[in-house]
Symmetry: C2
Subunit: 603 residues, 2 copies
Amino acid sequence: MDKEQLHIMRHSLAHITAAAVRRIWPDAKFGVGPVVDNGFYYDIDLGDTKISEANFPKIEKEIHRIVEYGSSFEKLDMPIDEAIKWAKDNKQPYKEELLNDLKRSGTTAAKDIDASELGLVADGEAVVKDVSFYKNGDFMDLCRGPHVENTKNIGAFKLMRVAGAYWRGKETNPQMQRLYVVAFADQGELDQYLERLEQAKLRDHRRLGRELDIYTTSPLVGVGLPLFTPRGTILRDIMSQYSNQLRIGYGFEKVWTPHITKIDLYKKSGHWDKFGEELFLVTSQETDDKMALKPMNCPHHAQIYAGRPRSYRDLPVRYLETTTDYRDEKTGELGGLDRVRALTQDDSHVFCSPDQVEGEISNLLATARELYGSISMALRVRLSYRDNSDGYLGELALWESAQAQLKAAVIANELDYFEQEGEAAFYGPKIDFMATDAIGREHQVATVQLDFVQPGRFGLQYTDAEGNIQTPLMIHCAILGSIERFLSVFIEHTAGWFPFWAAPEQVRVLTINDTVSDYVSEITTILGSLILNKPVKYNEIRYTVDDRNESLGKKIREATNWKIPVQLIVGQKDKDAREVSVRTQSGEEKVKLDGLADYIKQL
Amino acid sequence: MDKEQLHIMRHSLAHITAAAVRRIWPDAKFGVGPVVDNGFYYDIDLGDTKISEANFPKIEKEIHRIVEYGSSFEKLDMPIDEAIKWAKDNKQPYKEELLNDLKRSGTTAAKDIDASELGLVADGEAVVKDVSFYKNGDFMDLCRGPHVENTKNIGAFKLMRVAGAYWRGKETNPQMQRLYVVAFADQGELDQYLERLEQAKLRDHRRLGRELDIYTTSPLVGVGLPLFTPRGTILRDIMSQYSNQLRIGYGFEKVWTPHITKIDLYKKSGHWDKFGEELFLVTSQETDDKMALKPMNCPHHAQIYAGRPRSYRDLPVRYLETTTDYRDEKTGELGGLDRVRALTQDDSHVFCSPDQVEGEISNLLATARELYGSISMALRVRLSYRDNSDGYLGELALWESAQAQLKAAVIANELDYFEQEGEAAFYGPKIDFMATDAIGREHQVATVQLDFVQPGRFGLQYTDAEGNIQTPLMIHCAILGSIERFLSVFIEHTAGWFPFWAAPEQVRVLTINDTVSDYVSEITTILGSLILNKPVKYNEIRYTVDDRNESLGKKIREATNWKIPVQLIVGQKDKDAREVSVRTQSGEEKVKLDGLADYIKQL
């Protein structure tokens, strides 16, 4: 089933769901019922009656009854005033409000509601004359269509949950009940989705973050500001180190900038006009300085570039900084690591001449490919170009050359890609990376952006081979993106079973009894002198010893709950044979002490 | 000469200086002339006449004349009203103002002026009756004394500079001219001081910071917010890595916390009441959250400790974080790296039981000793104890035990120490480290502080061996302190000639001509595979090649200006002999290519 058909099917099911609800609660007043990812929702006002999950079987039964009855969807056109009268007569004040808005202005006015989704046939005309309704069985609803022919053709569905939602999203409006329903072409697809949802729940990084002691939160510190424990900090550090190491190999150098700045910096860069309202403002009590927490690092890095005169021989200048940016997100949108107010970026900026773009981009693509490849995530990129509209800054020839260089670099790196016009930033074209996780979800991760604008705004310069003053280009790139968000993806992708080199605790030695302590010392001496160099350099083995007076079963259970990739079980027999039992996710095997170091190195 | 005698001598010289100034400018009106470090200053109002360095020889000549004449200092007591009349008659409005203040309130009212320094005999009496004057030759000044017996005994001095200063430090008051004079017991000490000053000027980290491209500043970002270039970032990272590496050896684990928090955290910790006015406040435009930039990290770390239940088996819990704190310093006090608004601390916190204090302190002392020893800075520590006054929190027995443990750890570490009562923080005793630099200046660096208070305020707990709930102690420690301030000391201590392992650019290969490029590749292959492990682990050699078509002399000059510790000079003869000329600060020598790696490793 193609996307459009699926959409029609879900939309038709929304009508049927409303009809079912009205059969149970005849006084139900309906808001909107748009199609969303994996299904749709419908906003319903039942007065003081609350829908609960206990009501779901009853509602589902009514839906099935309508489906099985098999009415067709009939379209009726109606003059708008007649439609308003219909809404009033039928005690549908929300529909009435929408129709009045539509009559007045040709749109539903509220930005958050898509008129066409509601079936309001505005279609760009300033004055609306007619609106359309669809009728199935005894239920009629304001709707643009199209619909499936018959209520029988609505695939498989499941009521998921009900939540409060303000009418039109405004806190001063009445609160309605939003009924979420997932719907797919057939039962197989629905089951697959539900299965994935179940898996996702087991992998939920908020749950694993707590269970594996990766991060904590504190109401005293505030929402969206997670604090990272030793285990979580190892993950942060090793991933940032990896992403830095790869770029250092391409000539990047680390820099350091503070987290605050006078807002003058953003007035100059142009960010103040665009994002001024999204910044955390900083007030000095000692001075009149107007400051802000940095939401990005490019303007700071540009200041370092500007700190010395530059010649074409110095280019490309490549700066790298893993640093924390602050964005004033609404607190209601925060939770876990996927959306935070303190986001640490593995950010980098290249300052180069136009002919260096392809080579630099190519290095960054190779970096992203290597990193995501090593954590078994398939990458796909979107080449985001300008279109013919206004509002793009920089010369057209520069754009065309740059877009061609971007594409050439993507092809040279054998990346799966697609192109999209009109998706570029106003200051330059970009490449967005999507990574697919272990349960098939796609996440936007890295990004590489060209910038024709900021260097000019800051007056950045270099002297070319002929002694002329030129303005460099800038290439923004983060490989992990926000490290916090990356970790939310990484935790769910691995379900907490991190690759051996990244695991906070890589090896745990479990003793069977207390006769083996000397032998355990021999083992820890080997572990203590082991250093992994792939994929991250100078990675000392992180190990612990569990020699408590507890049963081996309990020790194994605990080590497995902690998702420790390598468990070394040591008893008297192992000591006598000078070997250890190595327990990993793929099973258990005996390894000679002599070969332990090599065994671990190849993991 | 002891400190007190030196003070009297400098104070007497202030009188003589004023007398000399009045001989040249009879209308001079005098403010105050207190003794300060290395000498004294005198605030003088000459109306429109400006004192310049060109006048210094003339003033010095008059001073010498008074000194050689050899008058004695005579004391005169005078009722205060008579003194006020004297000031009026002699057109000394500033003295008159001070006397009136003194008469009214028994003090000079202005906090910034020490009455006793002025010779005003308030001495705690509410009403002042008499004041004393000292007369030498034809000059008389309000003064408490004591003085040297005769103007002949004033040692050696030098007029240094003159600067504007508002009367009593208030911008709305008249601006006076502040004449700075340095004075020592004899010419030898003065010369030594001037020589050190000259050396300090050559080592000035602001100058070297620019010349060696260590950091930059930007008016768009703001004062007190330096930005670190690649070279400066290497210095930051390697020193932080070193200080972390030593503590990780003692079981510390890295954590990560955001730079902002709700102020609730500081209300709970008690910092809000004490330091609330020194914080940068953070305003959310999306929410009503009241937030601040963190000025220290202990409350954040305490939240991580609080994130899980803890048992005595888990103690000591040791957290380590190199992170940036923000303090709202007055902008006038900012400049260079010694005082900044963004200060990065190599901070750590131990949570432990009372009997673990000595062992933990001992590890931290060993860390500081090793780090400062390896950069050739002698350490001396102050043991800061409580006295018998009120205002210290925590039980007396705990204090006494803790102070004894601190001292035992200092002695066990063979540190040069002195003890000072009344210097403890209100929450616990501490150890402050002073490091002496290459030109004999002492800088306060690391600190180790015990804290009996914060764990209780945050309700931190652990279960002891008997199953009882206990409150842990906290040990705060930074080894470098503020990394920015440490770097200001480190740059001036080394004059930019950093130890080999820390130098941003360690090795530069200088070619004599272009016939040696293959041979240079052989050399860089050796350098590229070299890793230093002392004192900082996994330290890859940072090298460059200067193969420009320039004279060797120019190349050496440039490499030396960059203070690159190892310069490898390579010509055809070196290639033929398979050796290199190694140029370091201690001279030049030939080293066989085969032995180059070992040669560099032992540097």
